[in-house]
Symmetry: C2
């Protein structure tokens, strides 16, 4: 059944595609002669182009952050709770830009795109792309939109890492940075989970070294496993306990190898859904971008020195039950920003939802987010 589009929604949205003919030299040493970026915008750019906000997406996110593509859509974009009329990112004041990152699978150039040199799809030959590369391509999109300086760059999780990289690499081009549920680099445990996910995908006999498209198949089992595992790390133990506990699927124990508990059923459902809408090579690429993110590596592993050139004011947000990027990881960012004498606000939100909390309408979180963004809006001309 189609939804009734709420009055505070950004409404029906049509994505746009930007074709970029400027070659990009990627951090990993390879280059792309040209590439497409698919993006959406919400709200109106003001006369002096000072009210633009960039949204950076996380691992499985895309350009469709808010509103609806079609009146029959069952749900809105992935961050609709935060973007709309009167919401934290208030479309009454801001012009919001949201894109699918390079290497993605939702319309920007990525492993599933045609390689203009071979006239075949890239598949596994698509180059590794890093957070720094994404910032460069996002800057190319900003150039196209003639946005010289973002009012704010905002992201959660891997999106927060992109926002942080903007503040470090292009300090003149943003006034505020909002880094939510992120970390200054992955821990060994974070990398370990990514490696299990990658191994699951790569060891699926339908993966064919990434050339599954040539075999007219998909590494469903491997990508499904990666997604199941991802879900465990997105939720907290408490959230899973509250939602599923030890509830049985059929109301009784059957003593067999089929699904017994509701949590198993949930994970299997998430897994089989995911492979219908996400590409395995893009999943590998995204996990590698996560692993490689470590801006301090260019500053002798000194995070304070890494932040020395930052000009943006910042809001850092963490969630108590997030064990993927725990509050401790946000403290690393906050402490280094303070030591570098930067303007930083920090809030740790009491929430049981784990890492996924950053996507949820948690009252205190959204209120603080909104209050900060009101301040950002007040600095933009009308």
């Amino acid at each position: 059944m189609p939804v009734t589009i709420p009055s505070n929604s950004v409404g029906l949205i049509t994505p746009k595609i930007l074709h970029i003919n400027n070659p990009i030299n990627l951090e990993g040493g390879r280059y792309l002669a040209c590439y497409d970026l698919i993006y959406e915008t919400y709200g109106e750019l003001n006369a002096d182009r000072s009210n633009a906000v960039l949204i950076c997406h996380a691992l499985s996110g895309d350009h469709h952050a808010a509103g609806y593509h079609d009146i029959n859509d069952k749900k809105p974009g992935w961050w609709d709770v935060a973007i709309g009329y009167g919401k934290a990112i208030d479309i009454n004041y801001f012009f919001v830009v949201s894109l699918n990152n390079l290497g993605g699978c939702k319309g920007s150039t990525g492993p599933n795109s045609n390689n203009p040199e071979t006239h075949k799809i890239y598949g596994p030959d698509f180059p590794i792309v890093t957070v720094y590369d994404w910032v460069k391509t996002q800057a190319a999109l900003a150039d196209h939109l003639e946005i010289m300086q973002w009012a704010a760059v905002i992201g959660g999780s891997l999106g927060g890492m992109q926002a942080l990289q903007w503040a470090i690499s292009l300090p003149e081009r943003l006034r505020h940075v909002l880094i939510i549920a992120a970390a200054p680099k992955l821990s060994a445990q974070n990398i370990a989970f990514n490696e299990v996910a990658r191994t699951a995908i790569k060891s699926d006999s339908d993966f064919h070294n990434g050339h599954y498209a040539n075999y007219n198949t998909l590494p469903r089992r491997g990508l499904g496993l990666a997604r199941m595992l991802g879900h465990i790390t997105y939720l907290s133990d408490v959230a899973m306990g509250k939602k599923f506990g030890r509830e049985l699927r059929t109301g009784k124990i059957n003593y067999g190898y089929d699904i017994e508990f509701q949590i198993e059923s949930y994970l299997q459902h998430q897994s089989s859904n995911f492979v219908e809408w996400f590409d395995a090579n893009t999943y590998l690429l995204m996990t590698k971008a996560l692993d490689y993110f470590d801006p301090a590596k260019d500053f002798n592993n000194d995070l304070i020195a890494t932040f020395a050139g930052i000009k943006a004011k910042s809001l850092i947000v963490s969630f108590t039950s997030d064990w993927r990027f725990s509050p401790t990881r946000s403290h690393e960012i906050v402490n280094a920003l303070l030591s570098a004498n930067k303007y930083v606000s920090y809030v740790e939100i009491d929430a049981h939802q784990g890492h996924d909390a950053f996507l949820m309408p948690i009252d205190r979180y959204i209120k603080i987010f909104q209050t900060y963004m009101k301040q950002v809006a007040s600095e933009c001309s009308v």
Copy 2:
């Protein structure tokens, strides 16, 4: 190079096999007409048979808990740090029994054994076995050894669950119970990790619905993935960080899909090793035994009522960085034992090693373990 066997070791050990012809009715509704249990013993049983200690093993453990099978063995049994002359479980005083559980793959009857009814190996047709079933078979071994009452039943992790089940189900047959790094039942998150492991095994195209032996193959990729994932949950984030951090395998970043970080290399190594010495059907069975363990389910989910009949005195041990079965899970056991007016000692060991800490020679842990066991020994006649 062969090791020199230390003087405090239990020394060279030869396992024994007990063939049990008494049929066992299993909790899941099926039965076995007969079965073998492989076991080892260390030390001497005293005249009134009052100094016997039972060791229960965890998911991938077996009967070989201490000492060496051969002078050329590279390492001793899995709990050699705790069992030996002058060690926590002191062979000067105790007669120690350690067995491979029913359903295992190291010599006790399990999926790889011959089914006497079909004259083929059981494979996936081996019945589901629960912690309660294990206690019954361990009691059959005790009967054979004419041990009417254990001085102590001891286990870590899944082994601790067996020890707890002994105290609940056969309260007259043990004087002490030591439950280390365990929980009174799995959480939704624990079950979720098990389900990912099972799905990895079952979705390996070499699994053949568990009949891989008929195809002369092994589900190496699936079982390897299960082991990689297991390892993440056995170690703490801090322990992984201390051991591996973001150290690179080749000293530089290569921007590709091969292994970059030492932690990835370690997990892949653990994975490829494991499939050489562990059976996939047994792995599935062990994770199911974990999922099903919930002694309070027979007492209207009331843990205090579950513990009402316990006669054994208990020592409960947890480790601060264990996130598989965190100290909170031990508190659940301790609080219910206290509410049931039972004799309980509890210690939370400050350790960064995560769940695996229970296998490690951590000074304070071993000292407390030893002190408790000295008290147990003092109650046995000489």
